[in-house]
Point group: C2
Chain length 188, copies 2
DNA sequence: CCCTAGAATGACTAATCAGTCAACCCCTAT
DNA sequence: ATAGGGGTTGACTGATTAGTCATTCTAGGG
């Protein structure tokens, strides 16, 4: 990815998180990125396309963070705990990015491409859940619902940890607690 | 509340849900409500104030719905189940309203007044949770965190039910399942 | 040193927006 | 009948916006 494109994405994330995407002008993004307004439209055909790109960029970073050191061969619980820990870690470390990502996915501004991108990359989580069901360790429910539940509880945990400014020990304790709440909720 | 004010709120909810609040013009709201643009500003000093009012209106409706037939004297679990059921019922019956309300609360557009309004009316849920802690039936965690968890799981359930178009029996089964997941997650 | 192609520029435009205000309408009290 | 006043109107304004495009710049091959 070219320098300028990267700068434009970074500037967009900054400003979107600070002011909201709906009242951040393309002019201010270009200025903040240190390029001319016309340049923005060399890289992104429209503001909507830029927003989509920002979303996909954030999602990609997030997934990269989660998949780091993913213990492919470990048992289900350990793998789920890895995802749990890494997700919350990302959310707490980059609260503006985390929040922006959530906001974009709820806002209804994303184009079809960005929405499709969603499911595709989360395949490894789906597989993990499916495997759990095959082994009969979870209560009976659909994979999709299980997945929503996991995401929702992670989200609640990230928000709480960020609001309280939890770090280190206190954060580790919250993560352990939340993981326990999830597991005892969904396990048979 | 005057007729026109009610019409303006209703029109705003419609259009905000359909197009997003950030690209719904005050002119289109007035038109949709059957009044002149100037009239809107007789009732709301600015678009921001209108958005706040929409949020508070939705929140009020939601709380009214939840508190209907609230079994004040029942035990903790029953009361929590009542809230659970009534919340999901509202979300599934009014998906655009539900979604708009969530979107507004995440968007950062709400003024201080609307945000304060939040905590105040949820007092009865806080009390319920606190009572549960006093009785020692929940795992050790903060009331706020418990509260976020409850909201997050309800949210996941509403979203899933809406996405799948669940009704009647299927919906009742999902509600029972989700309630069980929550309870076995948080209970000691 | 020159030439060319693609990247970068920023002044510009056409459209849209929130909010204003002078005029008007209609109801009520005198 | 008339005066007054609060509610309603919609044309209007000044500001802002996404996106364009003629022009300038730059890097690299000949």
């Amino acid at each position: 990815m070219s320098d300028k494109k990267q700068q434009l994405l970074e500037a967009s994330i900054d400003l979107f998180a600070r002011e909201g995407f709906w009242n951040t002008s393309t002019a201010s993004i270009a200025k903040h990125a240190g390029v001319a307004t016309g340049t923005l439209f060399n890289y992104f055909p429209s503001k909507d396309a830029l927003i989509d790109a920002v979303y996909m960029h954030l999602k990609h970073e997030w997934l990269q963070h989660i998949q780091r050191d993913y213990p492919v061969r470990a048992d289900i619980k350990s793998r789920l705990e890895h995802i749990w820990y890494r997700n919350i870690d990302w959310g707490v470390r980059f609260p503006e990015r985390y929040n922006l990502k959530q906001q974009l996915s709820l806002s209804g501004v994303l184009g079809a491409e960005a929405v499709d991108y969603e499911a595709e990359e989360l395949a490894f989580l789906h597989e993990l859940i499916q495997e759990g069901f095959n082994q009969g360790i979870f209560k009976e429910m659909s994979v999709d619902y299980f997945n929503s539940m996991v995401m929702a509880e992670m989200d609640a945990t990230v928000r709480y940890a960020t609001a309280q400014g939890l770090k280190d020990m206190a954060l580790a304790r919250l993560i352990a607690l939340s993981s326990d709440v999830l597991w005892s909720g969904v396990a048979r």
